[in-house]
Symmetry: C2
Subunit: 303 residues, 2 copies
């Protein structure tokens, strides 16, 4: 079952001709999520042929314009496309008022339910739990209240060792106990441990989205051994002062965090428009953490 992140935008506040502002499309099994929604996100979704009919949850990290302006058009387009299922938007406070100011000015009347969930920006919390996914916030340190988001797959069911069970002539009925991690007791009272007839499931996969923030190790315990870490890298390390001043991170700092967190792979994004060529930025990060990639738009990363 898929666990994939598609990059829709990788620019910091000022976009460039080929770098849109922040937005990522996440597919975890049968669920799809949108994380941040910079200007142009709806067109990027069309360009990369992504399907939004299953999208029920959008996560906004903070209310700087490059992280949410695309919502306005996207929500209108859903309306024009006849969407009639509810949509929930998680964000720091203030978003609902902006959206309805636009809608009221423009005579937009939504035909579907829009739910606003305000996240706590000072305390991490679990904000969504579905049979497939658990989502919790990461507290970031930016110029305005900002959160990151950690997506964890729910543990998958045990895999049955069917051949072995057949040798023991266990009835098919036993499998449903085993799948849930329960023992099976047959009519004669004999107990069969699920451990003997199942393979352990693969560890649940995880993805952390960290943008925008000054370098902070407070999130380390939450992102430890995450499979895929997206971390902002607005500047190269020679602009560390500028990064601190603007509450952003350098590529080397992002790599250091990835190393300390022992993640599998690091994605860098939120690049300053000053960098035409991003290879030097990638190279200096790879010297610290080799499994690093640039989160360029259109790329799809599989966990």
């Amino acid at each position: 079952l898929p666990f994939e992140v598609t990059i829709l935008g990788c620019s910091s506040a000022t976009p460039t001709a080929d770098r849109h502002p922040s937005a990522q499309f996440l597919q975890i099994r049968n669920s799809t999520f949108l994380i941040d929604c910079g200007e142009g996100t709806q067109i990027q979704i069309m360009r990369f042929r992504l399907r939004t009919h299953k999208l029920q949850h959008i996560f906004i990290s903070h209310l700087h314009p490059d992280h949410y302006l695309g919502l306005l058009g996207l929500l209108c387009t859903f309306n024009l496309q006849g969407r009639n299922t509810p949509l929930t938007i998680f964000s720091p406070p203030g978003l609902q008022e902006v959206i309805y100011k636009v809608f009221n000015t423009s005579g937009v009347v939504l035909q579907y339910e829009l739910v606003f969930e305000i996240v706590n920006t000072s305390q991490p919390e679990i904000i969504l739990e579905t049979p497939e996914v658990l989502v919790q916030t990461l507290i970031l340190q930016h110029r305005i209240p900002t959160v990151g988001y950690l997506f964890r797959e729910q543990p998958t069911l045990l895999k049955i060792d069917a051949a072995k069970a057949a040798l023991f002539k266990l009835p098919f009925e036993a499998f449903k106990y085993f799948k849930r991690g329960e023992d099976f007791v047959d009519e004669s009272g004999q107990r069969f441990s699920y451990k003997d007839f199942t393979f352990p499931p693969p560890a649940p996969r995880s993805f952390a989205y960290v943008s925008d923030t000054i370098y902070t190790e407070e999130i380390l315990p939450f992102i430890f051994e995450t499979d895929l870490l997206y971390h902002e890298a607005t500047f190269m390390h020679d602009r560390l002062d500028r990064a601190k001043e603007t509450f952003h991170t350098t590529s080397v700092q992002a790599a250091e965090l990835a190393k300390k967190a022992n993640v599998k792979q690091l994605l860098l994004g939120h690049f300053s428009a000053r960098y035409k060529n991003l290879e030097p930025l990638l190279e200096e990060a790879r010297e610290v953490f080799p499994d690093t990639a640039l989160a360029l738009e259109g790329l799809k990363f599989t966990v």
Copy 2:
């Protein structure tokens, strides 16, 4: 001196992968103007390598989201780029409040002066006059108050017939009178008519922007013999009922108006996302008015 329209977006409300919402960039001599500003306009400006440092005036036709949402990001980017010259936005009422709602929510403080000019949406008026250009509104009929814009070059100066003036041994000083359309009287009191020593200037060029509207002939006297007419053509003519219902125009209607107005060239745009292939739409318009083109994004039309 240039008089050019570059198309930045040609979609109606729902964009497609290769059709952004409405926006056009106009260069008249040394002046540049932006007309409507749908989502993604700032990136389109970058893609097509247009320069905005001389941009002082933006014209918004109406406050449906596909005609102004791109302003929010564009104005922020100008700020980040260090713009410090005033910018004036003409639009129906309500825009200023939306923009400041976004800026206040997102902590954006503009470093340049933003001037809002509210246009009269029931009575056409001249709204801008510079040494190079005169701009007036066209009253359109849409679901909300909407105007079009007519751009007319100011009459250029007369061109001196220098060879003839030299034959008459007229002093160089006489030319400045002739250029202004005044006669020159020499020291002996002899009068030389400017008409005898000048060529008439070319007729001032003009461009009319008409989006969005139901078919209306009320604008005919204003756009008569306009060089270039951009007119919305949201639907093909087989959807005339739908066009009327939504206060839009069909391609054939736009062509009929162009024909009655005896314009030089017609540009069609604001296409419904339902049309993957726009050639049939163009063809049926050309049957009525042959000098018709599709206003596809990235195209530059010279008047």
